[in-house]
């Protein structure tokens, strides 16, 4: 803590308790503050003074977390940046399937698609297909970010099979899932889900969903890559949030 003590002279604040109160006050004044118009004017401020102000905040954080903690937090933030949508999807699957009735001989499914892929063996031929109804019902146990990430991962996991026209009424695999999502989410029953009902209002295909949510390329064409990129960029934060819910609520997320 020598560095922090050394910095006290710069800050005109001479005890740790005062600095902690400063952080608490900043937190109270920052969270939930009402929306105000930014009506700023530009002034010249001595750059040295500006640096001192930056140190005030940095040191406050250091005192809250400990100087070593700051380095660890920096690492944690970098680690969060590396998190991908697939990591969030695995966390969601562990929440959905960690209860005993959903586990497979004690092992948990690591994805919604994994649990809902059916394997038939006929005449020495291995045939795999997706249980669209089951995928939709599992997705409907989720809301908000958890749903968005799980849905994105279902699409990613389907890979080249996503557009195979083997679904209900000649629909593709993913459009069949969307068919059941739209159907179940709006019916009063176990699967009713207002979040999904609104997200898929009038949506009949993946392209409809992408356009409705503004995941488009430069030409305005639906782009799954844009959806995946958006999810990947926020994956760290969402994983932290979902993990926290998982820790506090067990397997129940919706």
């Amino acid at each position: 803590m020598d560095r922090v003590v050394n910095l006290h002279s710069i800050m005109d604040v001479n005890d740790n308790e005062a600095l902690l109160k400063m952080v608490e006050r900043a937190q109270d004044n920052s969270v939930g503050a009402k929306k105000t118009v930014r009506n700023s004017k530009r002034f010249y401020v001595d750059i040295k003074e500006l640096k001192k102000l930056m140190v005030v905040i940095t040191v406050s954080c250091a005192l809250t977390l400990g100087v070593v903690g700051v380095v660890q937090v920096s690492q944690a933030v970098q680690d969060l940046d590396k998190v991908k949508t697939e990591d969030v999807s695995e966390e969601i699957a562990s929440m959905l399937y960690s209860s005993s009735e959903e586990s497979l001989h004690g092992a948990y499914y690591s994805s919604i698609l994994g649990k809902n892929t059916v394997h038939n063996r006929n005449n020495d031929q291995d045939v795999y297909y997706y249980n669209h109804d089951g995928i939709a019902k599992d997705l409907l146990k989720l809301e908000g970010d958890a749903f968005d990430y799980a849905f994105c991962s279902v699409c990613t996991d389907m890979g080249k099979n996503i557009n195979n026209l083997v679904g209900v009424g000649g629909r593709s695999n993913i459009d069949s899932v969307i068919f059941y999502l739209s159907l179940y989410s709006s019916i009063n029953g176990k699967e009713f889900n207002n979040y999904v009902k609104n997200a898929f209002d009038g949506v009949e295909s993946l392209n409809d969903y992408l356009v409705l949510n503004n995941y488009v390329d430069r030409n305005g064409e639906p782009s799954f890559d844009a959806f995946k990129k958006y999810c990947d960029e926020r994956a760290g934060e969402v994983l932290a949030s979902i993990s926290e819910k998982n820790d506090s609520k067990g397997a129940s997320i919706a």
Binding site: R3, N6, L7, I10, M11, D12, V13, A18, M22, V23, R25, A26, Q27, N29, S30, V31, G32, A33, K34, K35, T36, V37, R38, N39, S40, K41, R42, F43, Y44, V45, D46, I47, K48, L50, K51, K52, L53, M54, V55, V56, I57, T58, V59, S60, C61, A62, V67, V70, V71, V73, S74, A76, V77, Q78, E233, R234, E237
Partner: protein, 83 residues
């Protein structure tokens, strides 16, 4: 150095930094008179105006502070002697 100064709750705050993270722009403001008074806001553009918006939770405050700490960790390692 020219910086933006805004009046919030009848107090004058200097915008000492902006950090864009995951589509959100966090603004770090320090009271121009009382250096121990700092706040964090998000910027929101709406109907041709720019607004300061409060953070959603204490967790978001901690996260925003972490982003700042990460960006300026050099200040700590150099004992605040940056020029």
């Amino acid at each position: 150095m020219n910086v933006d100064v805004s009046v919030i709750d009848n107090k004058s705050y200097i915008e000492i930094d902006k950090i864009v993270k995951n589509g959100k722009t966090y603004v770090y403001l320090v009271n121009s008179i009382d250096k121990t008074d700092f706040i964090i806001r998000k910027l929101l553009a709406e109907n041709g105006e720019i607004y300061y918006v409060g953070l959603d939770s204490k967790k978001e405050f901690d996260l925003a502070l972490m982003y700042f700490t990460k960006k300026h960790e050099g200040v700590l390692s150099e004992n605040g002697k940056e020029e």
